[in-house]
Amino acid sequence: MREKSTTLYLGPQHPGITGNMMVKLQLEGDTIVKATTHVGYLHRAFEKLIERRNWMQTTTILCRFCVPEPDPPEAAFALAVEQIEGREVPERGKYLRSLVLELARLQSFMLWYAGQSGSTGLYTVGQWSVGDRNYVLDLFEELTGGRIYHMYIWPGGVRRDIPEGFEDKVLRTMDYIEKRIDDYDRMMFDSAIFQKRAQGVGIITKEKAMEWGVVGAPLRGCGIGHDVRKDNPYDAYDKLDFEMGIFEGGDVWARARVRQFEIRQTISMIRQLIQNLPSGDYLNKMPNPMKWTIPAGSAYGKVESVRGEFGFHVVSDGSDKPRRVHARGPAYVHGVSLLEDVLIGQNLADVSFIMNSLGVCPPEIER
């Protein structure tokens, strides 16, 4: 007997949804037969606003593109501007940028731990990891002056040099967090509940992955090893020793394993960056921000954010304001067409679980 189909609106106000968005589900029983994503609840028209901002002002609005991880947008924009302008970044600036990007990745991974485990009911991990994440945010506060929005990476380098004694603090924090991650893993990855929920759920096949433009951890979870940090190294990544986590399977479990592997790589990278931090200038200063013009041209600057490739297509017409800044976040690919496809055949209870593992971040989709 065929069950009657039901339409269910999941979100925008729903405790399980990853942000302010909505998925319209066509259900048969509790199996999804069709999913349609609705976004736009967080549309702030950044790209329109940037038309009215000059280059310097643009750098401060960018971090709001993606709230859980605000630094990759800053870095991607800076890279694009540097490409157009031909501005060199001093070596120390490159290292500090990478340091900030890795710290941002670390705190974002910790937030992911909370989201991923929370959506299976393992709330303790969330209490731990979000509580411990504050130690990373403390580092940011010390370095950049802000907890979440740093506005630290500028075209040409970084905004301020590191304060005194900062290196020690970073290393101490890393030691602490490294110890704690093992606890999270025991709680989460060793848990029978999590394993059973994650394995074989939300599968993306290898063939589909490239075709659909999957990036980041979901791509590496399909056994395909691509990472912007390795492919097109930016900042100090060509001087760092790290590995990509590549796992087969393409399910939530594989993606979780990728992240489990990479959070340790991140900690090791932060240690390397602190140990090899060169001396010298940290910023190749731009001229007076009110009169700063960038020669006409366009560029695509991309960095690896925790959820995958984050890029900015920047077009300059030679004036003091950008002509067009178009962001491409990983969630733009993962959160709309891919999500609609992956959800088909899954259980209703797994929706927020899968969304967490794909790293769907609505503010990045609609900007």
């Binding site: 976004v39 736009g40 329109k48 009215r52 659909w212 691509h226 097109n232 009110m290 297509h313 690919v333």
Partner: protein, 192 residues
């Protein structure tokens, strides 16, 4: 700098050989531009995808060149082998903006095309996708067009908190205090 662009020059040459009437340019490290006409874009993208290994679509973007009455569409594709970014650029008429639907080449183009249709009003004949993507009940001009003035819209639609009317302009105040008369043609150089 020039000497290190071997890979980029090679790609530019390959495309140049395969297509007539396109202009290619190895701009900088990892970046190659190809300027083509509207009709050629799909064949270039297919060629690059199938023959040259540019398997991944990184981005699709639309730029409004109000001055020359054109929209510029940019497709940025990336190859896992050469690790180069290829920009395929084309310009279409702004008055009657239409572009070939290409979401069968890359599925993600579906999302991009939906956004560009909504934000710029570019039509993609034959393209299936819900009309409303980000906006809801939008009745004005497509907002990302440069002739849509967001500040004007805001002043018409939303409120502003009172209590800030006593602000002054430094330049005007100085000019008033000293009796300086700034000629009209110079005012465009005054501080905003």
């Amino acid at each position: 700098m020039e000497t290190s662009l071997i890979k980029e020059e090679l790609l530019a040459q390959q495309l140049q050989n395969a297509f007539e009437n396109i202009v290619t340019e190895a701009v900088r490290k990892d970046t190659v531009f190809a300027y083509a006409s509207k009709e050629q874009v799909s064949s270039i993208l297919l060629y690059a995808k199938e023959k040259l290994g540019y398997k991944s679509l990184a981005h699709m973007s639309c730029i409004d060149w109000l001055e020359s009455d054109e929209f510029e569409l940019v497709y940025i594709i990336w190859s896992p082998e050469t690790k180069l970014n290829l920009f395929v650029k084309t310009r279409i008429d702004r008055q009657n903006p239409e572009m070939e639907n290409m979401d069968m080449i890359w599925r993600q183009l579906n999302t991009y095309q939906r956004e560009i249709r909504e934000m710029f009003g570019v039509e993609f004949p034959g393209f299936v996708g819900e009309k409303e993507f980000i906006l809801e009940d939008w009745e004005d001009a497509p907002p990302m067009r440069r002739d849509f003035d967001t500040l004007e819209y805001v002043n018409d639609t939303f409120f502003e908190r009172e209590g800030r009317e006593d602000k002054q302009d430094v330049r005007e105040r100085i000019a008033k205090r000293s009796g300086e008369e700034i000629p009209d043609f110079a005012k465009k150089y005054s501080r905003e």
